[in-house]
């Protein structure tokens, strides 16, 4: 089984980075989260309810839909903030990539640690532009809003191909497929990483791998 890989590219102004990333990451996670599983006897389970929230962006003409889970929102915001800081610190170029990877854990025998097998990776390439005046910023607001709309349509298109999804696990296996740490929703196991491209546009000169969400103990 090959890992499915999708790339999305956006060009945004500096102050739009947060919201643009949140919009795309939350849209993906909305589709990759279920309600909490409640296992019953005989291997059956029931699924909790997922609520949604509309969030208006301040710097982009866009409203994103996210899962109603403050915990999940906090985690994603933290990751995006770190990415943005890294982008800001990298220099004037402002190009980077944030990746959302869904994976499954596969237990290995001792002494080897569990394997993480990704089954879907979303890479969002960001190009930060600098704008000279307010008029350009206003145009950028609208344009980025439209672009995000197009990206949402792309995401939905990929997801609705109904390609590989991990099988619904039994109670003992649920931790290998889903992130069960949140109270109210249950996304598939995921991790967010980012890379900053240097000003030459070549491959990464400063690679910072931050495993925001990884239950693997290294």
């Amino acid at each position: 089984m090959n890992c499915r890989s999708e790339v999305l590219e956006v060009s945004v102004e500096g102050r739009q980075v947060d919201e643009a990333m949140l919009a795309l990451l939350h849209t993906i996670l909305l589709h990759r989260s279920t309600g909490k599983f409640h296992y019953k006897k005989e291997g059956t389970y029931s699924i909790g309810t997922v609520g949604t929230q509309d969030v208006d962006c301040d710097f982009i003409d866009f409203t994103l839909v996210r899962v109603s889970s403050d915990e999940l929102d906090r985690v994603i915001r933290k990751a995006v903030a770190e990415f943005k800081d890294a982008l800001g610190n990298s220099g004037s170029d402002g190009m980077g990539q944030i990746s959302l990877e869904f994976y499954q854990k596969k237990k290995s025998r001792w002494p080897f640690s569990d394997e993480c097998i990704p089954w879907e990776v979303w890479s969002i390439k960001v190009n930060v532009v600098n704008l000279a005046n307010e008029q350009e910023r206003q145009i950028c607001r609208e344009k980025v809003g439209e672009k995000l709309g197009e990206k949402v349509i792309n995401i939905v298109e990929v997801i609705n191909r109904h390609e590989y999804l991990p099988k619904m696990p039994t109670q003992s296996e649920v931790y290998n497929v889903f992130d069960t740490s949140l109270k109210d929703v249950q996304p598939y196991l995921y991790k967010i990483t980012y890379q900053i491209t240097d000003s030459l546009g070549t491959s990464v000169s400063t690679t910072m791998r931050r495993l925001i969400k990884d239950t693997l103990a290294l």
Partner: protein, 471 residues
């Protein structure tokens, strides 16, 4: 086909499709309410949240959806459509998008109904939640209120996309294969929103034609099925929210619904409302295959919150002639409009017409006097403002249009201000100004001064006595 499906699976699948259709309608309409939607996640399943999603059920919307479905399910050749349109306070309406839930014949026999189909339908609803915030109508719906409202209409049968204008785009939300066919959910949305501004001026056949053509098989009967995408308590007067026109249009200033009752509309720059018949013409029901449970001519009987279109608005005929103009009444006033034609008016300058014609030689507009300055700034301004009117003296073949400005009173003067100005644009020359200048020269004036002074000195006592009486 169905024989491969167990009865339980078939029953489950029908239930899933039915509730999926109802939830789809809820998501779409709620996304056009103009508000942000928030629902809570719940870790303990309540058993009532279909597809494991917290989607509220607005009872009115469910009722309309069930009415449209009328016991049937979306199936092959039977699509369920939710049409979203915009209606301005002037009565203009424009279709914005049509969401279609369809089924095609491609079956997926191996798919598990109770598990995979259910989960994929859930995924499709999530996609719908995301996509409904992305189409252009979302932004419009967030700004609805005083100037326009968003309406929805649910119908069953063939998809109608003609009202979306040219160049409409389609976005596919997703598909779910089932053993009896593949469910597809898509949205066709209008891209040309600029139509609104040109429509404002064209109160002629084509605009009406567009509306009529769209509903060619089911004309205004189905306007009655348009419902506002707003969660208001029944009985509230919807008309009260309309106050004016959206800023995007270059509208004739007299066309606002808040204009005073006496304001006239200039012919040819008609800003009035296209005629909406109070009694819609009869037509077949839109929904093919639907039991015609709706009586014809139904719109006046419908409850107020559910039929925006049955409001009685001002009517100005689309075929306004040059000599006919309509007294515009404030919106939602049930008075019949009065059509005033110039033939029923007395020519305002009937008395003056021949005189003006004859006096053209003496008319100071046409032949300005050689030297005298205007005796007052007002007269000066009359000259400049009304000089254009001098050329427009009433001729036999020229019809004067009487402008009656707002708030004019005709009880104090026998005429209004405009007429006053026009009548007095030709005042008789002042006696002192009509002195034949060539007779007297400046020198003679100066010579006669001492004589005058002597006379005044002689009569000084009289002058003093006069001044005393004034004190």
């Amino acid at each position: 086909m169905d024989s491969d499906l167990s009865p339980q699976d078939k029953k489950d699948l029908d239930k899933f499709i039915k509730f999926f259709a109802l939830k789809t309608v809820q998501v779409i309409v709620q996304a056009r309410l103009g508000e942000k939607i928030n629902t809570c996640s719940s870790s303990s399943p309540t058993g009532s949240d279909w597809f494991n999603l917290a989607i509220k059920d607005i009872p009115e919307v469910t009722h309309e959806a069930k009415k449209a479905l009328a016991g049937q399910l979306p199936g092959i050749g039977r699509s369920m459509c939710v049409e979203i349109s915009l209606k301005t306070s002037e009565g203009d309406s424009m279709e914005l998008e049509t969401w279609c839930l369809e089924m095609n014949e491609k079956c997926d026999k191996d798919i598990k109904v109770s598990y995979t189909v259910y989960n994929r339908l859930s995924l499709l609803l999530k996609s719908l939640l995301a996509i409904t915030r992305v189409t252009p109508a979302y932004k419009l719906s967030r700004k609805q209120g005083h100037d326009y409202v968003i309406l929805y209409r649910i119908y069953f049968g063939d998809v109608q996309l003609t009202g979306l204008g040219e160049g409409f785009q389609t976005v596919r939300v997703g598909i779910v294969g089932t053993p009896i066919g593949t469910i597809t959910l898509s949205c066709a949305y209008r891209t040309n929103l600029a139509l609104m501004s040109s429509r404002q001026f064209e109160r002629t056949g084509p605009i009406m034609g567009i509306i009529i053509d769209h509903y060619v098989e089911r004309p205004f009967t189905n306007m009655a099925h348009m419902h506002p995408c707003s969660y208001r308590s029944p009985g509230e007067d919807e008309g009260g929210t309309y106050a004016g026109i959206e800023d995007s249009q270059e509208v004739c200033t007299t066309s606002f619904s808040t204009s005073p009752p006496s304001q006239m509309v200039v012919p040819g720059k008609e800003g009035g409302v296209p005629q909406v018949p109070a009694q819609p013409t009869h037509g077949t029901a839109a929904e093919h295959g639907r039991i015609p449970s709706c009586p014809t001519g139904q719109s006046p009987q419908l409850a107020p919150p559910t039929s925006c279109s049955s409001e009685v608005k001002t009517v100005s005929p689309s075929d306004a002639l040059e000599t006919t103009f309509t007294r515009k009444v404030g919106a939602f006033v049930n008075k019949a409009t009065t059509q005033v034609t110039t033939t029923s008016l007395d020519l305002p300058f009937a008395a003056f017409a021949p005189r003006a014609y004859d006096l053209q030689e003496n008319d100071p507009m046409v032949h300005p006097p050689p030297s005298p300055a205007p005796s007052s700034p007002l007269q000066g301004s009359l000259h400049s403002n009304t000089s254009s009117h001098s050329g427009g003296q009433p001729q036999d073949d020229f019809v004067m249009v009487d402008f009656k400005p707002a708030f004019s009173k005709d009880d104090l003067l026998p005429m209004d201000l405009g007429t006053f100005y026009k009548e007095f644009q030709n005042p008789p020359q002042l006696a002192s100004l009509s002195i034949d200048v060539s007779v007297q020269s400046m020198a003679e004036d100066l010579d006669s001064l001492p004589e005058k002074l002597a006379i005044y000195e002689k009569n000084i006592d009289e002058f003093d006595a006069f001044v005393d009486t004034l004190q």
